[in-house]
């Protein structure tokens, strides 16, 4: 027994010295934190990688490296050739696509990223208006690490429910699902600032259109439930009954925060198809201009009604826009598939039906409270 232990131990030590895994020392690898894909000038893909490198001055610095090749993995090898440290993608936080690149299709990139075990499913995707390379290479005076900045920008806005969430997993989910199309935040560089300018709409893996930030609220409303978002909407003056406000201006701005929504979708006619959409919204009124006293029950009820009609008008407009370009980012197809037995739904079938789809919208708005001052 004892002898056996000794043999085991010595054998193990021998084995240990013989086999040792390849090390990936944190400070000796170049960590890619952000990658941008564009069409290359000569070859298929131009990759711009934001690489964080650690120098001996106890300061980390960021290098922007660009390379062209036929495949994305090929560009990776080329980027490696141009970097001082070995390039590793395990800390990749975001992937940007140029607008043109996205229009040609990002399906292949999604598939490659999923295949790679080092790439996290929580990585964020975004589309850049124009090309990614000028955005990443621009010398921003206020931004040290462009990779981290863009990641935080996206993450913060997703967390505060300003824009649809676009983690690799969610994008892949929509990409592979039959009844929902991909929607990805759209970034734009405004001189020295980077801002979210809306969302990019996809049909399968190709970008087919975009929506403004205001309109993307309705996309998110349909995809997820709001828990803590905020939204500013414009009401038309003429919609307002005179009992609320005499002589209303053309536009009335209303800001709510936070919003809680719940939606209820019913397929009423599978052949057309036709949906009944009932959305309950609970809001806290943050600002209304010009001021209306919502402390009175009657006023509040009137206002709720007006907001409801305003919201449904906007939503139907956004849905119609998307129907036109044939991108079901709302996931109506998913509702269809889950409501109809043996639907055998395919992507083509649904996209054909989507164009003919009818939606009856009904909003139920509740004003919960309006701050500490009336």
């Amino acid at each position: 027994m004892k002898k056996c232990c000794v043999i085991l131990l010595s054998l193990f030590l021998c084995v240990g010295l013989a086999a040792c895994a390849e090390t990936k020392l944190l400070e000796r690898v170049g960590l890619v934190t952000l990658v941008g894909y564009d069409f290359g000038k000569e070859e298929a893909v131009e990759t711009t990688a934001v690489v964080r490198q650690v120098s001996t001055e106890l300061q980390s610095k960021v290098a922007i490296i660009t390379a062209e090749n036929a495949t994305t993995q090929g560009t990776r090898a080329k980027v490696n050739n141009r970097a001082a440290e070995k390039i590793m993608s395990g800390q990749l936080r975001g992937v940007l696509f140029g607008e043109e690149f996205a229009s040609a299709g990002i399906g292949h990139n999604i598939e490659t990223s999923l295949r790679n075990s080092t790439i996290s499913g929580a990585m964020l995707l975004a589309v850049v208006e124009g090309e990614t390379r000028p955005m990443l290479e621009y010398p921003y005076p206020e931004i040290d690490d462009i990779g981290e900045h863009i990641y935080k920008l996206l993450k913060q806005n997703i967390a505060s429910e300003q824009v649809v969430s676009s983690t690799l997993h969610e994008v892949a989910h929509d990409y592979y699902s039959v009844g929902r199309d991909v929607a990805i935040p759209l970034l734009n560089r405004d001189e020295e600032l980077i801002e979210i300018s809306g969302i990019a709409l996809f049909r399968r893996d190709k970008m087919v259109g975009k929506l403004s930030v205001e309109d993307s609220f309705y996309v998110k409303l349909m995809r997820d439930n709001y828990h803590a978002g905020s939204y500013e909407m414009k009401l038309k003056g003429e919609d307002l009954p005179t009992s609320l406000l005499k002589d209303p201006p053309d536009e009335i701005n209303v800001v709510f925060d936070p919003i809680k929504t719940r939606k209820d979708v019913k397929l009423v006619n599978p052949t057309t198809p036709e949906f009944d959409l009932h959305i309950t919204v609970q809001v806290r009124l943050l600002e209304i201009k010009p001021n209306i006293n919502v402390g009175e029950v009657k006023n509040a009820e009137e206002l709720e009604k007006v907001i409801g009609t305003g919201l449904s008008a906007e939503l139907s407009r956004v849905i119609a826009d998307c129907q036109e370009i044939g991108s079901d980012v709302f996931g109506f197809g998913e509702f269809y598939r889950s409501s109809v037995r043996h639907s055998e739904l395919t992507e083509e079938k649904w996209h054909a039906m989507f164009k003919e789809m009818k939606v009856n919208i009904d909003f139920d708005v509740t004003l919960l409270r309006s701050g500490i001052f009336e």
């Binding site: 240990g16 895994a21 020392l25 944190l26 400070e27 690898v29 960590l31 650690v54 395990g90 080092t118």
Partner: protein, 511 residues
Amino acid sequence: MSEKKSELASTQQSSAIESDHTGSAVSDSTDEFIQSVRDAVHNTSDLVVKSIPPNLTLFYIDNLVDNQTLKQHVLKELLKYPFQSPQYMLSFLSIPQVKLEGETGKAVRAMMDGTVLIHVEGYTQVVLANIPTTESRALSAPEMESQVIGAQVAFNESLSTNISLIRRYIKNPNLCNENLEVGKQTKTSIAMIFIKGVASEEMVNTLRQRITDLETDSALDSSILEQMIDDNSLSIFPQMLLTERPDKLCAELLNGKLGLIVDGSSLAIVCPHTFLEFFQSQEDQNLRWQIATFVRLLRFSAVVLSVFLTPMYVAALTYHYEVIPQTLVVPLSESRALVPFPPLFEALLLEMIIELLREAGVRLPSKVGQTIGIVGGIVIGTAAVQAGITSNILIIIIALGALSSFTTPSYMMGNVIRLIRFPLILVAGLWGFYGIMLGFCCIMIELLRQSSLGSPYTAPFYPPRLIDWRDSLVRLPLPFTFKRPSNTRPEDKNKYEPEPINPENDEQKVT
């Protein structure tokens, strides 16, 4: 295996006694007896042979007997009543321990314990008057297992004092004290203590067997004895507890365990003991149960932290940079930027430094020891970071690990925690998380393979004894812990009959 050993040992021991040439009867002639005693002790220079004419001869070893008592109670009385038979001496010698002995060997052995032999010419029996010097230091506060709440007294090196300490806690005639002897050369006396009717008879027999079967020269300290009688001497884990606290020993005796006290050693052995119990302190019983539970959980998580934190650091930085959150990547990589070694060597180096500091602190006189701690901790730590051979984040991790390893109440187990980190760091540096899991599984299997006096080492978790979980990682209020731990296989399973908790309070609530 132990049975085989025991058979062998018992036959050899008996033969050793027979071959002892001093086993002969006491001679009635004074000269002959003097000669035989001299032979038996090989003419040692501190043997005092004092003749009291006409017929008495006194033998004793200088400094082993109390001179004061010798003068006042032995010599004085003997001079007062000369020409008496040994039988009569028993009655007039005014000292508590006097007896007759007819065998030279036994008489000489008694002499080594501080006995005066009184030989009367013409009689074949000698009087043994036991008047040993009581040279032992005063009782002092426990050093290794100090507690805030609880008795501030520790065992000292005297067997009789230690036993009297225990008797003061447990005033019960069922408290058995069996005297055993170990060591062919040293003849160290050992007291085996247990409460009859509580401790398992089977375990008492096993332990007695193990001690009597020991074939060894000496047992100079209880820690040595522990290593000789435990279940698996090759294992890194101690299987019996060494404690210097009489209250701890008594509490364990009441749990049905057995205690061993070795003459000349200030540590008592408690067995059987489980792995988890090494992390329990006697103070846990003295504190309110919520606090005790918190402290126990804290202590145990400290151990886990101490063992696995540094390996995790090494593994993550060497192989798994993916798992580091974004907010930690920058500080970690920047602190590592200047370090020329891979994390494995960096961690081993720093751990070695900590161990060196600790060892130096123990060896040096206490006043210097404190300075070493400060010098080592501050000077070496800062200098190492500034010189760029270690990262400051690792210093924090190692210091945390070292701090955690001090929380183990048992020093012996603390040492294990100290040592076990090194192989783990090594495997983490070789194979990352996979290596850590290999190491972890090894430790787990090793723990499962151990037993303490035949009872499972990993109790009460495996084999699962749910009732014992009440006093394990957590400590529930005393009314819930009325059972003795079942791994001691107690004869009497309950400490007391469970009663409804605070019945009066319930009544009060109703009215």
